[in-house]
């Protein structure tokens, strides 16, 4: 009966969400608080029903209820316990349930937080969030039903995609969706501000922490995705400019722009229109990303017509954009800036340029991702642009952004005087130039690598300048060094959380530069006892072993890796699943701060006499994960409640 219960609950949730959205809107217009309260109850009901559906689906997975088509398609009797749980969101239908559940959770938290504080905006926020929820519930009842019945009930299911049997798959979608859905809250506030005509700065103040939370989860999702790609997919990379990755990266770029531009509006009452546009764009890009990755449109424009989910998302996207742009036009006059840009050399300009570059990068990624679709639709030939395109256009943009990361936080507001520039930047610039010379001397050859590293040194120096100055000021009041530092970070947690995020980005930039510039790889076939050399490592093939695991057969190679007297054994393998036509590579690696040794088993002789292996020495890749940890820590600091008293 699980399919029927689940389906019924989803229909009930859909009706409740529709009712709540309408009730909140009418309540707001007529000023009837009972209607708004009724909408709150509806939102509670939607959350309870969705929680029930999620639990029901998990129960169906745990008890192998193959009468549910989705369970039968994504699990079988051999799937281990943990992966039966993660299989809940392992494919389209389940991930939409998870998405909607998170959205309902955000709605609930927004309700609790803003019910009393943002009285005028709040009913509309509730209405918009419930409307978005209603859309996802509609998707679950028509084009992607998670509780569809399968009859006759099969004896065993098909099994989970083996690539998803990884701990990264537990956390990656959760973080990513928390990021995606999190941007719905600022969007709802922006819409509420436009509808009520209170397009001033209240909505921005109410949502800035929401934006940081969404950004935090989106960053975390991207990082875990990169790690998954690196240690599961077995191509030795962490980012491929794949449409699926781009879909998550575009809202990250516009969301990052938003985090910066809100500071200008708070401080100078400028960029109101721009901020609203960024919120709308970020939200629209989260929908667009789902459309892109779930409709099959990437494979071919013509695949689009095969499933209806693409049409649903595209229609909703069009509706959202139309409504949002209509409201913007309607409130055009209220969006005039109070402040003016005073000088090209000022913090406002630096932030503005940062925004332009981030949006330019988002546009580049968008353009490159949809280019094959455009060329197929317009010219009938399918032309794609790959990683070289994205790198070629984005690398200069990112280098310029790193430079601005050093300039923006320190340069004076309004107009920077030569004295201000000299005081803040003379030291860091000298250090950056010196660093470039040193890198050159120690043999760093690629120009882009020298530039990236020198810029990172420059930015790190500006952060040190600011931090040192502020800490000294506190120490003069008699605080010990460590307490001065911690106190500073906690008191101005948004500013110094931001600096920590910047440090994380620098560390990631160093990791990316190193892995792009100095990684080595070779592929070779070795007989037993034979060895290959790469980058000072000697890799000897010792033998093959096969064994049966709970749901697959594993053929494991043993390789002795030696360098300067130190020795280790790596065991890359291939996993064969009875339900799969082809094996899945299982990479083995040793991570290091300087470099990772990374082995992929290619092909092998069944009698164990020889094996083809890909050996990679990936330089500095670990710094990407370390930088990621620093970055997420910084975001957490920034999201703490502001302790500074309003000036």
């Amino acid at each position: 009966v699980i399919p029927e219960i689940g389906y019924g609950a989803l229909i009930a949730a859909l009706l409740l969400a529709l009712y709540g959205s309408g009730a909140a809107a009418v309540g707001a217009r007529r000023g009837r608080s009972t209607l708004v309260e009724s909408a709150q109850h509806a939102a509670l009901g939607v959350f309870a029903l969705l929680s029930g559906c999620l639990a029901l689906l998990a129960y169906a997975f745990l008890t192998f209820d193959f009468s549910v088509r989705y369970v039968a398609s994504n699990t079988n009797l051999g799937t281990p316990f943990y992966y039966r749980l993660t299989a809940v969101w392992g494919a389209l239908e389940g991930s939409i349930i998870l998405w909607a559940w998170m959205l309902a959770l955000y709605t609930l938290i927004a309700m609790l937080r803003h019910r009393r504080r943002a009285r005028e905006l709040y009913p509309w926020v509730l209405s918009v969030m419930l409307a978005v929820l209603a859309f996802f519930l509609l998707v679950m009842t028509i084009p992607a039903p998670p509780f569809q019945r399968l009859s006759p009930v099969p004896a065993d299911g098909r099994g989970l995609n083996p690539l998803l049997e990884d701990s990264g798959m537990i956390t990656h979608p959760v973080a990513l969706y928390l990021g995606f859905t999190g941007f719905t809250v600022p969007f709802a506030f922006a819409m509420a501000a436009l509808i009520t005509g209170r397009a001033g700065d209240a909505w921005l103040t109410a949502t800035r922490r929401w934006t940081i939370i969404a950004w935090y989860f989106l960053s975390l999702g991207l990082l875990i995705g990169g790690w998954w790609s690196y240690h599961v997919l077995g191509w030795g990379g962490y980012w491929a400019w794949d449409p699926v990755e781009n879909a998550a990266f575009m809202p990250w770029l516009t969301g990052t722009a938003l985090l910066h531009s809100v500071m200008i509006q708070e401080r100078r009452r400028m960029l109101r229109l721009w901020n609203l546009a960024l919120v709308i764009a970020t939200f629209a890009l989260t929908l667009f990303g789902t459309f892109l990755t779930r409709s099959g449109v990437i494979a071919s424009v013509h695949a689009f017509s095969q499933g209806s989910i693409g049409a649903f998302f595209l229609s909703f996207l069009a509706l959202v954009l139309l409504a949002a742009l209509g409201l913007l036009a309607w409130r055009w006059d209220a969006l005039k800036a109070d402040g003016e840009l005073d000088s090209v050399v000022s913090r406002e300009s630096a932030f503005l340029l940062n925004n332009v570059l981030l949006v330019a990068a988002a546009f580049t990624v968008f353009f490159g991702t949809v280019f094959p679709l455009l060329s197929e639709a317009l010219r009938g030939v399918k032309v794609s642009v790959g990683a070289p395109f994205f790198n070629q256009v984005n690398v200069p943009l990112f280098l310029a952004l790193i430079f601005l990361m050093g300039v923006g936080p320190l340069i004076a507001w309004r107009r920077a005087s030569p004295a201000n520039l000299k005081r803040n930047f003379l030291g860091p610039i000298a250090l950056g130039i010196a660093a470039a010379a040193v890198f050159r001397l120690v043999g760093v050859r690629p120009v882009l690598a020298v530039l990236a590293l020198a810029l990172s040194v420059f930015v790190a120096a500006t952060i040190a300048v600011d931090f040192g100055r502020a800490t000294r000021a506190r120490r003069r009041h008699g605080e010990p060094f460590l307490r001065a530092m911690v106190g500073l970070v906690l008191r101005h947690n948004r500013r110094y959380g931001g600096f920590v995020v910047h440090l994380g980005i620098l560390v990631i930039a160093v990791g990316v530069t190193g892995s792009q510039a100095w990684s080595l790889q070779t592929e070779t076939t070795l007989r037993r006892g034979e060895a290959a050399d790469l980058g000072g490592y000697r890799v000897r093939f010792e033998g093959l072993a096969g064994r049966e695991e709970s749901n697959h057969f594993k053929v494991e190679g043993t390789f002795a890796v030696a360098r300067n007297g130190t020795q280790l054994t790596l065991r890359p393998a291939k996993k064969f699943y009875p339900q799969e036509q082809s094996p899945i590579a299982y990479v083995d690696y040793r991570l290091g701060l300087r470099e990772d040794v990374y082995l992929v088993l290619g092909d092998f002789a069944r009698d164990g006499t020889q094996a083809t292996v890909k050996v990679q020495i990936n330089r500095l890749v670990s710094w990407i994960w370390i930088g990621g940890a620093i970055l997420t820590l910084g975001a957490l600091i920034a999201v703490l409640p502001e302790r500074r008293k309003p000036a």
């Binding site: 997919l233 642009v385 093959l544 053929v555």
Partner: protein
């Protein structure tokens, strides 16, 4: 220290605004130029074997998609030479690749290879696209036979 926020003469404001507009135009033009050169340098054309056979251009970057003809696959582990034929039912193109066959690759299955037309009658592949789809496709019945056969014949040799 900050200059006082007095209303500035309109002429000063408009001069300043012109400066920002000009700066914006320069950035937009630079971006357009970078995207244009990026596209022209890294455009890869999708073709089917019949389209390629009809008008091959030496040195142009292609993505060739087709089915690996049964019986055409030859893999030489010692030299890492991989050779096969891609066909779309009408025409077939011989492909050569350096490296072990990737996981999702095999005879009678679809494959997309990226590379160039070598001019001497074969396609030189630099990348075989192994498509990792999250959506799981059911194998045709009886395909677990290959799995059982591996379990039977694998002998291995532990050190």
């Amino acid at each position: 220290m900050t200059p006082p926020a007095v209303a500035l003469p309109a002429a000063v404001v408009s001069r300043r605004r012109r400066k920002f507009v000009a700066g914006g135009c320069v950035i937009a033009a630079a971006l357009a130029y970078m995207i244009y050169t990026g596209v022209t340098q890294s455009a890869v054309y999708f073709v089917t074997p019949s389209e390629l056979a009809a008008a091959p251009v030496v040195g142009k970057a292609y993505r060739l998609g087709g089915m690996v003809t049964p019986g055409s696959l030859r893999w030489e582990p010692a030299t890492l030479d991989l050779a096969f034929t891609l066909s779309d039912g009408k025409a077939s193109v011989p492909v050569r690749h350096k490296g072990a066959p990737p996981d999702l690759f095999g005879e009678s299955r679809g494959a997309v290879v990226e590379g160039t037309w070598a001019g001497d009658g074969h396609f030189k592949s630099t990348l075989i696209m192994a498509k990792h789809s999250e959506e799981y496709k059911a194998p045709p019945d009886g395909k677990a036979a290959g799995y059982r056969e591996l379990m039977r014949t694998f002998r291995g040799a532990t050190p």
